[in-house]
């Protein structure tokens, strides 16, 4: 425990940590604070108003959106696919265009989701995969503005199940996850690099302490420190919501639950990547890998920001609405978060192996030798 506090103190008094705290708090507040001012207490009553978007289970909306897009892309022979989340243009040969037309006609006859998936599957194959017509991606078409009845149901869930704070907490978790997916990796690499800079690594490696204890203590101290700005922001936002809704039945723990359940697994992974890449490369190369992972996750998530969990390292829910979707897919999100927590443990295990090899003098980090002068 003494080692934990020593590491914690050393970590949280570093300039890198101070900078991390400032930018994390700033980033979350800048993006969430304006949304907090959007009132949620008033029930929707206007039948002609345009309400926020939801992910619908309505097959008709999904089919109409999918066929409209395919018709347009087929007419222009300009299709878009998303390998690793990035938009890529695809044009087809005349023969393939005929096959798409056949698939389009078949899709028009489909009266179930399964039938539509079957009809559009060949289109995805012709495009080389990763298109919106892939069975797993068809859900992207199921987005449309809420009707008045849906807006009322959404409002009821916000008031009764989310108890207002839960709604804001989802948005907070969405934004906080974006930033904690990348910054901890940099802070940790810099933290580990400080040992190399001071040339104390060999002295530390020679200490009579097991690698698991050494690594787990450092990891736990770092995670505890890295979570501080997230919790600080949660507290600030909770205070703001309490001021905006005096007397309302609020869930006072919602922001902290979101921080622990939603944000923490992402933070665990990015922190573990920091330790692993330091052990693997002994420099900042790991940053390039993490930023690549971050960008790909962001791009994939951007296709459906109002509710997109799946296997994303940053599960997206950038909306104060679409509440039914959240509760309907809660188990999916829970599996996602559990999966990433386990992945962080695996990364930590790999780091441990590499650190043991380093202590035994069998590994010194993967890097090319500088060219001879």
């Amino acid at each position: 425990m003494k080692l934990f506090w020593l590491e914690f103190k050393r970590f949280t008094t570093s300039l890198a940590f101070v900078l991390y705290t400032l930018v994390t708090v700033g980033f979350i507040l800048l993006n969430v604070w304006p949304m907090i001012d959007r009132g949620l207490a008033t029930a929707p009553v206007n039948p002609t108003a345009r309400y926020d978007l939801i992910t619908t289970t309505d097959f008709h909306a999904l089919k109409t959106n999918a066929l409209d897009q395919l018709k347009e892309e087929h007419a222009d022979d300009a299709y878009v696919t998303y390998p690793f989340g990035f938009a890529k243009n695809v044009t087809l040969t005349a023969g393939a265009q005929v096959k798409v037309e056949q698939a389009l006609n078949q899709a028009r006859q489909a009266d179930t989701r399964r039938g539509l998936e079957k009809a559009l599957g060949p289109v995805d194959q012709l495009l080389g995969g990763h298109s919106d017509y892939q069975a797993a991606n068809l859900q992207r078409f199921a987005v449309r503005p809420m009707t008045l009845a849906e807006a009322r149901r959404d409002h009821t869930l916000i008031m009764r199940k989310d108890r207002i704070t839960g709604t804001y907490a989802r948005l907070f978790a969405d934004i906080a996850s974006i930033i904690v997916c990348i910054l901890p990796t940099i802070v940790i690499i810099a933290y580990c690099y400080a040992d190399r800079r001071a040339q104390i690594r060999p002295t530390m490696q020679a200490k009579a302490m097991g690698t698991p204890k050494w690594l787990v203590t450092r990891y736990a101290a770092s995670v505890a420190g890295l979570l501080i700005p997230v919790l600080m922001t949660a507290l600030l936002l909770l205070g703001r919501v309490i001021l905006l809704y005096p007397g309302a039945a609020l869930d006072y723990w919602a922001f902290f639950k979101a921080a622990g359940f939603w944000v923490l697994p992402t933070l665990l992974v990015s922190t573990a990547v920091g330790f692993l890449s330091d052990a693997l490369f002994s420099n900042f190369t790991g940053f390039a890998l993490q930023i690549g992972w971050w960008l790909i996750t962001m791009m994939i998530g951007a296709h459906q920001v109002i509710g997109n969990y799946g296997w994303l390292l940053i599960p997206r829910h950038n909306s104060l609405h679409n509440v039914s979707f959240f509760y309907a897919h809660y188990s999916e999100l829970a599996i996602n978060r559990l999966g990433y927590t386990l992945l962080a443990i695996v990364f930590l295990g790999l780091t441990m192996v590499l650190m043991n090899l380093q202590r035994e003098g069998k590994y010194r980090g993967f890097h090319l030798r500088p060219a001879r002068r």
Binding site: S14, L15, A16, L19, Y20, V23, F27, L30, N31, A78, P83, F84, F86, A87, K88, N89, T91, I175, I178, I179, I182, L183, I186, V187, I189, A190, Y191, Y193, R196, R197, A198, Q199, N283, F284, T285, F287, A288, I291, G292, L295, M298, H367, L368, P370, A371, R373
Partner: protein, 206 residues
């Protein structure tokens, strides 16, 4: 004198920039897999240069301060005729040229002669803007973490925060006027002058 400086530049690049440069080239090598190489609009064509290259730039420019991180090396170097700031400038120049060449290759591959000039100006401005932000962040804080952290946060802000005006990195992607790049270029020059100025001042003081 010029040849001495030239020899120094070549040796410096071979010793310290070769491996990160190869990594950066490999990193950029996945662009044709991720992005379309036959864009039909300038918005599509801008994606790799505005979305991907700034990240490569953060990785490259953050690394220009890495070799002297070992305690005492900075003081030794600053006692020599060639000051550390000159070495930093060589590295900055090298990575600017390297990333600009990658941008040029990308634009040549597009075969969009009408947009080529605007795209190249836009892409190189991004490289310089991110590079200058990295240099200034390090010079002002003396922290390697800041050199990576601040440009990364700025990039993340550009992705989601809509009020950065002409300083948003995604000018063409967001269909802003390409002339906004002049603002970014101006800020880049200021940050570079300030950043290298701080490094020089520090060397004199220490």
């Amino acid at each position: 004198m010029a040849s001495t400086f030239g020899r120094l530049a070549v040796k410096e690049i071979r010793a310290n920039e070769l491996f990160p440069s190869l990594l950066a080239i490999a990193f950029c090598g996945i662009m044709p897999i991720l992005f379309t190489m036959h864009p039909t609009t300038i918005t599509q064509a801008a994606l790799p240069g505005e979305l991907f290259m700034p990240l490569a730039a953060i990785f490259c420019f953050g690394g220009i301060f890495l070799p002297e991180q070992v305690a005492g090396v900075t003081d030794v170097l600053n006692s020599k005729r060639t000051q550390l700031v000159s070495i930093y400038m060589i590295r900055f120049g090298w990575y600017t040229v390297l990333l600009s060449m990658i941008n040029l290759l990308l634009i040549v591959g597009y075969q969009l002669p009408n947009f080529a000039g605007v795209l190249f100006f836009d892409f190189v401005t991004k490289v310089l803007f991110v590079g200058s932000l990295t240099v200034f962040s390090y010079a002002a804080s003396r922290s390697l973490a800041a050199a990576y952290l601040i440009p990364t946060v700025y990039f993340a802000l550009c992705v989601g925060y809509p009020h950065l005006g002409p300083l948003n990195l995604f000018i063409l992607m967001r269909q802003q006027s390409w002339t906004d790049n002049w603002w970014q270029l101006g800020v880049a020059v200021l940050l570079l002058v300030g950043g290298f100025g701080l490094v020089t001042k520090r060397a004199v003081r220490s």
